[in-house]
């Protein structure tokens, strides 16, 4: 190490400002972990992608990241639901082939819209939700299940994928209060 330690600087009685600044910056770099705290509140296929894409990217950039799955967002980490998340064609004018609401309400239109999005995603080699969750966990993204939602919706721990933490709002807010980026999705 070329830079003198703070102790050396103090002992010699000379404060080398440049060296001090360098040490100071390094110390902050070592201790200040940048954190991203996301809330996933929707259980549709199109709303499951953004938090998972942001989280895996954040983790790949060396940021600490956690996702709080709440309300219908909990479906994203439910073993029995994550592979069958759907897209709602109703009140969704942004669909590639816009569907009038009256047609969107016809049975079968939801599976059709879902099939379309899944096909578009597969065509562009986008990972499936299960794959993104797997990657997120591999990159040490914290997946947090909202315990209130679990209680209200009667979801037991066994219904969730392995490795998720169970927390309430207070624990998540404590985590988020130390984050530089917080997003509600």
């Amino acid at each position: 190490m070329s830079a003198k330690s703070m102790r050396d600087l103090q002992i010699s009685g000379v404060l080398d400002y440049e060296a001090f600044l360098k040490l100071h910056t390094q110390a902050h770099k070592d201790t200040d972990v940048k954190r991203v705290a996301l809330v996933a509140s929707k259980g549709t296929l199109d709303m499951a992608y953004p938090p998972l894409i942001l989280a895996t990217t954040a983790a790949a950039m060396g940021l600490e990241c956690g996702i709080f799955f709440t309300f219908y967002g909990l479906d994203i980490i439910r073993k029995d639901k994550l592979a069958s998340l759907k897209v709602a064609p109703l009140a969704n004018p942004a669909m590639p082939m816009p569907v009038p609401n009256i047609i969107g309400a016809i049975p079968g239109m939801t599976s059709m819209a879902t099939w379309m999005l899944k096909r578009m995603m597969a065509k562009q080699h986008m990972p499936r939700i299960a794959e993104l969750l797997d990657t997120a966990q591999k990159l040490k993204v914290r997946l947090i299940a909202c315990t209130t939602t679990m209680g209200v919706m009667g979801v037991s721990r066994e219904k969730l994928i392995d490795g998720v933490s169970l927390e309430g709002a207070a624990a998540f807010l404590n985590y988020a209060s130390k984050a530089q980026v917080t997003l509600f999705i």
Binding site: K34, I53, L54, T56, T57, A59, A60, M61, G62, L63, Q124, H125, M126, P127, T135, K138, L139
Partner: protein
């Protein structure tokens, strides 16, 4: 001096977050100082890879445009 890549990550035809995630996983498998080559076609990677490098501290040595693909050479710190 140009250093040869010890590993190549092919992310052609894939979009965010795949190129950056693949890149960071590949860097875990090499030693500091070694270079990884990333081949991507996602136009977003032109902004994403430099931003990723700035954040992680790994060095983006140079980029090339070749056969409609963007090639990035990244040195692990």
């Amino acid at each position: 001096m140009t250093q040869a890549a010890v590993k190549t990550v092919d992310s052609r035809g894939e979009f965010c977050p795949v190129p950056v995630v693949k890149l960071s996983l590949a860097l875990e498998e090499v030693q500091p100082g070694q270079v990884v080559e990333l081949i991507a076609t996602d136009p977003g990677s032109k902004a994403d890879v430099p931003a990723w490098a700035e954040m992680t501290g790994h060095v983006l040595l140079r980029t090339e445009d070749r056969d409609k693909a963007f090639i990035y050479f990244i040195q692990k710190v």
